[in-house]
């Protein structure tokens, strides 16, 4: 019950903070007015102990007992300042998030910059789904933390609210700030299971004659361009010489494929997208040129990683027009 009440209280406080802070840019310098601080449980017990000590000191009028009580109290107060200061003027930057497939965890990178000449210790970042850290920042140093969010469906997943907190020094106080960055991660459709081959009719009619020649005759190496599929890269050569080369095959390119949304009549929209995702991935892996025909968007035949991501992005953000 106590935990539930605390949670409700925290939610209220967070809403209030959101209202007063507004949205944050992708790089936030933590100013005084947005750093909150409260004693931890340990801190509360510590202050209860100090109160008991104060009573006993008054009772016995013992000077050294007073001295100890006051020294510990002063230590607690100074620790409070240091705890607050441990976050003050630190810069929290969004480092971005790479696209993931639905069902995977989206990973948001946060970069913490300590521009000050003092170290910052025990910094923790936390959102509703994950906790990152603790991390120590030396004077002038930076560190990257990763916050996770689960994904269920394609589209965008928002990072929403997260906190950056610290209990250093001594775990007596917890200082924290809430950050609301407009950060989102692209979620591709989850690829369908392998098995369904691309329909033959999807191929371009003019290129049907090129089907099945002696594909695998190794012809030689040439300099790589960004559009070359990764599986053709000559990694062993790269490891030896540092030069990025591509294996050329005498069989030439495999037959280019055009994947059509409308051709998958037996599936619903999401299943179609999943299936198209699977085919795009397979084609990219095989190094085949491929294209995508969606209602309202055509992506012409091409190869390469950028092309693949372009296709997947289109699939992720696909919206059927009424």
């Amino acid at each position: 019950m106590f935990a539930a009440a605390t949670q409700r209280l925290e939610a209220l406080a967070a809403t209030w903070a959101r209202r007063r802070q507004g949205d944050d840019a992708h790089a936030v310098t933590l100013q005084r007015r947005r750093i909150y601080i409260l004693p931890t449980r340990h801190g509360l017990v510590f202050s209860a102990m100090l109160f008991a000590m104060l009573l006993a000191s008054l009772q016995y009028a013992a000077s050294l007992a007073f001295a100890m009580t006051f020294l510990l109290a002063a230590l607690g107060l100074v620790a409070m300042q240091h705890c607050h200061n441990n976050l003050l003027h630190m810069i929290v930057r969004l480092g971005g998030a790479d696209p993931v497939f639905a069902g995977e965890e989206a990973v948001f990178r946060l970069t913490l910059d300590n521009g000050a000449g003092l170290p910052r210790l025990d910094i923790v970042a936390e959102n509703a789904d994950s906790k990152a850290g603790p991390v120590d920042l030396d004077a002038g140093a930076s560190a990257t933390l990763q916050l996770h969010r689960p994904t269920a469906k394609r589209g965008y997943v928002e990072l929403s609210r997260f906190s950056v907190a610290t209990t250093h020094p001594g775990n007596l106080f917890r200082a924290w700030t809430w950050v609301h960055m407009d950060a989102r991660c692209l979620v591709y459709p989850a690829p369908a299971a392998r098995g369904r081959p691309p329909p033959a009719g999807a191929s371009l009619p003019g290129e049907r004659a090129m089907q099945r020649r002696e594909d695998d005759d190794f012809a030689g190496l040439r300099t790589a361009t960004p559009s070359d599929p990764p599986r053709r890269l000559a990694w062993k050569v790269y490891a030896r010489s540092g030069q990025l080369l591509v294996k050329d095959f005498a069989g030439g390119v495999e037959q280019p494929q055009l994947f059509e949304f409308q051709a998958l009549r037996d599936l619903d929209v999401e299943e179609k997208l999943s299936q198209l995702t699977r085919w795009c991935l397979d084609a990219a892996e095989a190094g085949t040129a491929f294209g995508l025909v969606l209602p309202g968007e055509n992506i012409p035949l091409a190869t390469g990683e950028r092309h693949l991501h372009r296709c997947l992005r289109a699939l992720a953000l696909f919206a059927e027009r009424p």
Binding site: M53, L58, Q59, M68, F70, G95, P169
Partner: protein, 670 residues
Amino acid sequence: MTTLAANTTGIARLAWAAGLVAAASLLHWTSLPPWMPAMLMGCILWRFGARLLRWPLPGPWLMRILTLTSVAAVLAEFRTINGLVPGSALLFVMLALKFLEARAPRDQMILSLLAYFLVFASLLDGGGPLEGLFLLAFIAVSTLGMLQVGRQGTLLATRPTTRIAGKLLIPAAPIMIVLFLLFPRLPGPIWSIPGTNSSATTGLSDSMSPGDITNLGLSDEVAFRVEFHGQPPPASALYWRGPVLTNFDGRSWTRPAGMRRSVEDTIVTQGEPSEYRVTLEPGARGLAFALEMPTAWSAQSRRHSLRMTSEYQLLIATSDRPNDRVIYSVTSYPNHRAIEPLTASEREIFTRLPAGSNPRTRALVASLLEDDPDAATIVERSLDVFRGSDFFYTLTPPALGQHTADEFIFETREGFCEHYASALAIMLRMAGLPTRVVTGYQGGELNPIGGYHVVRQSDAHAWTEAWTPEDGWTRVDPIAAVAPERISLGLTRGNAAAPSTFAGRIGNLTILRQAALAWDAVNTYWNDWVVGYGPALQRSLLEWLGFDRPRGHHLLWLTVGATVAMLVGLTIWLGFASRRHEHRDPAARVFARFGAALRRREIDLPHPGETPTAYAARASRLLPEARDAITAIAACYLRARYEADASGAALRELKAEVGDFTTRYARASR
């Protein structure tokens, strides 16, 4: 790899906790029965054994049994858990057991609080400068421990921990001093404490039975310290009057009960008065000591009040705090006459002796009276008895039988002040002179460093007081007659038969003696200004600060105000230190703009430690169409930032390139 790191971390944490626990218990080792420190050490050893050698730790049931047994043992030892020492003992045992089972962070928290409390408990009954130093050291070490235990990550290295602890402790010190000086102190306790008489105290008691004592243990403990305003009287006049014993039952002299009359106005003063301030050590049990005869007195604290009995003895209305040091000022006249008018029945009281006791002494007194019945000379002639014969002053006299005076005067002839005072008093009473025994202290050692006199328990003395209608009560000190050097030099240094106390042994070693004197002076200042800091000194501090009629709430506001002011100062100072060093370099600012532009194309900002060249390479890979522009900007930035660029050409070029890049590839669309 990771398990090893976790392991060493665990051991380091354990070592920290063990060190804290051992340090916290240190001040109690002497005051508690020896099995308790042994138990603590055992628990620490057990814990380390479990950690390093995989010894089994006690399960919950064994733990419960251990707890119950230890509490029972403490109860058996002290018969109570009330009071400072039994309470500390219980805390001590709990700390040892808690250490044995402390695993979770919550346990460590409880452990650290128990440790703080244990140290705190040892400070409640006073504490000297050494305890003060210990306290500082303990807080410093425990702060290091608190930092380590409070760590979320792995333990910190020693050097940065020490630096952080310093950053916490140095600003804490002035706040502590302000709180110490200004936090309102209460004149009395909050609730009354049940009697704490069990603690053994040394010093004078309310009775005296010389025949029973065969070895007078003299301790070097300080009874009280005296600061004279002006020239102190000569050593031979330093008679510090304490309990006056009037009733004799054949063996013991005891104090009378009740007040006969007020005698304050019966003192006729002559000559110059002596004014001085006395600081009584704790444990005087309501007895105050003053030079004969005191005419005016006042206690420094409102908690204490002094009064005079009908025997010219000063008593303190005892405070509820047995460990208080009582400070009072007295004006005494060494030259005086105490002319109390005694009634016939009172004279009978002061000449009363048990029937049939000391027949040989009675015969001796009878023969003296036959020679000359004059009361004035009978005192001198009685003293002659002790002067003429081979009486011997010793602190280890033989025991005396039924007739103590007979055996002392005619057989053993060995004794210390109590034997002489008692025997003389018996003789004078037999002669019909109202007589009583006065106990107290004689002498006192001047501490030239502190400028005050120290009176020790070894200065305890007893003398006789006889009454005549003309002169009233007159002091008769048989020791001054028998061993005058005892009076002028002090006992331990004046008599070869004295036991070799510490002070006696080092008496000739001047350097050690000087050190002892200096240490005593340190203690005195400590007692006056630190231990003795209470409502009275606080009031004078406020008056010095300019408050006309200081009140409690003045102090409270001052405390709060000063503390808040210091914290605000600290905040400003810390805020300064943590302020971000802004990019002063214009090239870095332009490059940051470029980074923001790339960010719009979903290319991450430079990772920590990524060089501009590596960053540019990464950006080019993700944005191949802008490869040339990106490479050019990176090269330009490096030139503008790190090469001599007096004309600013490189910077201008960088600005142009970045502007160009932004419009072509990364227009701010949103």
